[in-house]
C-alpha cells in the first residue's frame, strides 16, 4: 500500500446524516468477485434521477467535483452493512479521506485498511465544512490535524496502529503473521 502523509484537496459535501453503505453502493452491485471498478456504481441511486439520467444537482456530478479527493459527509456516515465494497467504491472513485462528526465502526475499520482516511472532527469545524463546499483543506495524518483555508486547524483522533501502517504503507496482515508463535502458544494453552 502507498504511504499516506498529507492529503490536500478541495472538498465535496454530502450533508445528509446516516448515509448508509446501501446508499454508498447498492446491494445489486455486490455480485462482483473482485474489488476493482466499483467507483462506477458509487452512490448510484443518489447520483441518478428516477428516469436514469445523472442528476446534475448531485454534488458528485457537478463539474467542480472533478479531482476532489476529500468527501465531507453528515453524521454517522457508513452505517449499516459491513460491505467493504463501500470504501472500495469510494477509493476507486478517487477519494482519499472522509470527514464527518461520527462514522460507523465497521466502515471505519474497512476504510483504514484501504488507505481511505476517516477523519472525525468537532461540530464547529464540521459545520464550517458543510457550509463551504469546495474549500481547499489540508489533512495531515502525521500531525493528526485538519487545516481550513484560513489557517485554523483542529485535531482529529486516529487509532495509533492504523496510523503507523498508513504512514509507512505497512500491511496489517504482515504484522499479524509476525505473531504466529504467540498464536500457536495460545492454541496449545487454551485447547484451541
Amino acid at each position: 500500500m502507498e504511504p499516506i502523509r498529507q492529503i490536500r484537496s478541495r472538498t465535496v459535501v454530502l450533508a445528509s446524516s446516516n448515509i448508509d453503505t446501501d446508499q454508498i453502493i447498492p446491494a445489486r452491485f455486490l455480485t462482483v468477485t473482485t474489488r476493482s471498478g466499483l467507483g462506477r456504481s458509487l452512490f448510484q441511486d443518489l447520483r441518478h434521477l428516477p428516469d436514469g439520467r445523472p442528476d446534475p444537482q448531485f454534488p458528485l456530478n457537478r463539474p467542480e467535483a472533478a479531482g476532489c479527493t476529500i468527501l465531507v459527509a453528515g453524521d454517522n456516515f457508513g452505517c449499516g452493512s459491513s460491505r467493504e465494497h463501500a470504501p472500495w467504491a469510494l477509493v476507486d472513485h478517487g477519494f482519499r479521506a472522509v470527514v464527518s462528526t461520527a462514522m460507523a465502526d465497521i466502515f471505519t475499520n474497512n476504510a483504514l485498511k484501504n488507505g481511505l482516511l476517516p477523519v472525525i472532527v468537532d461540530a464547529d469545524t464540521h459545520r464550517w465544512l458543510i457550509d463551504h463546499p469546495g474549500a481547499e483543506i489540508l489533512i495531515d495524518l502525521e500531525a493528526r490535524r485538519l487545516t481550513l483555508p484560513d489557517g485554523r486547524s483542529s485535531a482529529f483522533p486516529v487509532e495509533a496502529f492504523a496510523r503507523h501502517c498508513l504512514l509507512n504503507g505497512i500491511d496489517e496482515l504482515g504484522y499479524l503473521q509476525g505473531k504466529l508463535a504467540e498464536i500457536e502458544r495460545y492454541e496449545a494453552a487454551h485447547g484451541r
Binding site: 452493512s81 496482515l173 505473531k179
Partner: protein, 466 residues
C-alpha cells in the same frame, strides 16, 4: 478480582496479545462464518499470496445472499437468473473445495442464512468469539458469544491467522424490565430500543441485554434482539447464557454429551456478569410499555408504535427527505396506510417462531387482493419444520408465496425485489433507501404486524387479529 461483565470475560479469554497504546489486541477467533458475497476477494488474496486457510476446522461457509428462493432454480432445473450471482455461488464452491472449508452448498439440507444456521446447527456456543463478513453477526451474541461483523480484508486476516487486530470496545448495558404484552414481539422490543438510543447510540460499544424482560424471552426471541444491535450502531450485542440457552443447545446436532456437556454448562454459567460489574453506559427499558412498532422513515430509528402519528417536520432537511422518499407527511397516522408487498423472513425474523406468529394471524384469513406476500424461511431446516407443522399450507391457502430459504427480499440481491414506489411491510432489519429495490419503500415490523397488514391490505394493529 474486580467484578467483570459478560463481554469482559469473553474478551479476556481470547486475548492472544493484549492491546497497548501503540498496538491493538490480537484476538483469537473461535468460529469464522463466510458467505458468497464478502468472501471472494479474501480467498483471492490468499491465493495470490500463496497463503492457506490456517484453521479450516474453525471455518464454515454457506450461501444465502444471492441464492434463488424458487425451487426450480435452486435445483438447477432452471438457471440462476442473474449471471453474476451464479458466478459468486460457483466461486464459493470452488474456494471451499480448494481451501478445504466445509460448505453448506445449494443442495445441502443444512443450508440457510448464515446467522440462522450458526445457532441452529450447534456451531454457535456461549463464550465463543465469532466473526463473519456480515454486520448481522451480532445475532450470535444471543447465546453469550462475542460476535461481530468484519470487512473482507479482515475476513482474509482471519482465514490466514485465525486472529484479528482489535481495539477493545466499550460496554453498554440495556436493562429490560417487565414482560412483553400479548401481540408484542421481540422485534417490537428491539425497534423500541433503537428508537430510544438512536441509530448511532451504540457506536463503539458492545451491548449487553439483561434484566427480567430478557430472561423471559425464548432463544429465538433473543436472537431477534441481538440481530438488530448493529441498527443501533453497536457491532455486537450479548445475552448471558442461562437455562433457556442450555435447553436450546442440548437439542443441537453434534453437541457434547455426558460429562463433557456438564463441564461445558458449568463453564458457560460462569460467563454471566458478576454482581457489581460496571458498564460505560446504561439505559433501562420497560418491556410492558412496548407496543407493536413500525418504521415510517429510511433508518430503523425512525420508528413509532403502529397506532402512532408521524412526527411533524422540524425543518430538518434529512428528515424531510426521508419522508418525501416514503411519500409520507408529518401528522399522518400509520394505521390504514397502503401496503403493496409483505415480506416475512430474514435473519431477524425468519425462524420457526416467527413463521408461527405470522401463521397465527393468517390462519383462516386471506392476503388482501393486490398485496403480494412472500414467506421465506431462514433455513432449509426451518422450511421442512414449517411444512411438517402445516404452516406452509396456512401461508399458501392464505395466498402467500412459500419459498426456499435465503436472504431474498431483505436486500434484493437474488432477484426478489420490491418495485419502485411500492410499500413493503418487511420483517427484515433495514429500511434504507433502495435496500429492497430501487425506490422501494420499506416499513419494518414484526411478523404479527406484517401478517395483519397483509390481510388488511393496509397497515394494521395485529392485536385486533389475535
Amino acid at each position: 478480582m474486580a467484578a467483570r461483565n459478560l463481554f469482559e470475560k469473553v474478551w479476556a479469554e481470547h486475548e492472544v496479545v493484549a492491546e497497548t497504546p501503540d498496538t491493538p489486541a490480537v484476538l483469537y477467533i473461535d468460529l469464522h462464518l463466510t458467505h458468497e458475497v464478502t468472501s471472494p476477494q479474501a480467498f483471492s488474496m490468499l491465493r495470490a499470496s500463496g497463503r492457506k486457510v490456517r484453521r479450516p476446522d474453525r471455518t464454515l461457509a454457506t450461501m444465502d445472499h444471492s441464492t434463488p428462493t424458487r425451487r426450480e432454480q435452486l435445483l438447477a432445473e432452471a438457471q440462476i437468473p442473474l449471471d453474476d450471482a451464479a458466478k459468486q455461488v460457483r466461486q464459493l464452491e470452488q474456494n471451499a473445495r480448494e481451501f478445504g472449508v466445509e460448505l453448506y452448498g445449494l443442495g445441502d439440507p443444512r443450508r440457510g442464512i448464515v446467522h440462522v444456521i450458526g445457532p441452529e446447527q450447534g456451531h454457535t456456543r456461549p463464550g465463543m468469539t465469532i466473526v463473519c463478513g456480515d454486520s448481522h453477526t451480532s445475532t450470535h451474541g444471543a447465546l453469550g458469544a462475542l460476535a461481530f461483523g468484519i470487512g473482507s480484508t479482515e475476513v482474509g486476516h482471519v482465514l490466514a491467522t485465525q486472529c484479528l487486530l482489535q481495539r477493545k470496545p466499550r460496554t453498554f448495558s440495556v436493562e429490560v424490565q417487565g414482560r412483553l404484552q400479548r401481540g408484542v414481539s421481540a422485534k417490537d422490543l428491539i425497534l423500541a430500543i433503537i428508537g430510544r438510543i438512536g441509530v448511532s447510540g451504540g457506536t463503539g460499544h458492545v451491548i449487553e441485554y439483561r434484566g427480567p424482560g430478557i430472561a423471559a424471552l425464548t432463544m429465538e426471541e433473543r436472537l431477534t434482539v441481538c440481530n438488530m444491535s448493529i441498527e443501533a450502531g453497536a457491532r455486537a450485542g450479548m445475552i448471558a447464557p442461562d437455562e433457556v440457552t442450555f435447553a436450546y443447545l442440548a437439542d443441537r446436532p453434534g453437541m457434547m454429551q455426558g460429562e463433557a456437556w456438564d463441564e461445558a454448562v458449568a463453564r458457560w454459567r460462569s460467563l454471566s456478569s458478576d454482581p457489581g460489574a460496571t458498564y460505560d453506559r446504561s439505559v433501562t427499558i420497560d418491556a410492558s410499555a412496548v407496543e407493536p412498532m413500525i418504521t415510517y422513515g429510511t433508518n430503523p430509528g425512525m420508528v413509532l408504535p403502529v397506532g402512532g402519528t408521524i412526527p411533524a417536520t422540524q425543518g430538518n432537511a434529512v428528515f424531510d427527505r426521508a419522508l418525501s422518499y416514503m411519500g409520507f407527511h408529518g401528522g399522518e397516522p400509520m394505521l390504514g396506510k397502503r401496503v403493496d408487498v409483505v415480506f416475512v423472513g430474514s435473519c431477524t425474523n425468519g425462524r420457526l417462531e416467527d413463521l408461527q406468529a405470522a401463521a397465527r394471524v393468517l390462519k383462516g384469513r386471506r392476503v388482501a387482493a393486490g398485496v403480494q406476500m412472500l414467506v421465506v424461511p431462514g433455513s432449509q431446516l426451518i422450511k421442512r419444520q414449517a411444512e411438517e407443522l402445516g404452516l406452509a399450507d396456512v401461508f399458501r391457502s392464505a395466498g402467500a408465496e412459500w419459498r426456499e430459504s435465503g436472504c431474498s427480499m431483505c436486500l434484493g440481491m437474488n432477484g426478489d425485489t420490491v418495485a419502485s414506489g411500492a410499500y413493503a411491510v418487511s420483517t427484515s432489519n433495514r429500511n434504507f433507501e433502495g435496500r429492497q429495490g430501487v425506490g422501494a419503500r420499506t416499513l419494518l415490523a414484526s411478523p404479527y404486524t406484517a401478517a395483519a397488514s397483509a390481510v388488511a391490505g393496509r397497515i394494521a394493529d395485529p392485536r385486533e387479529m389475535l
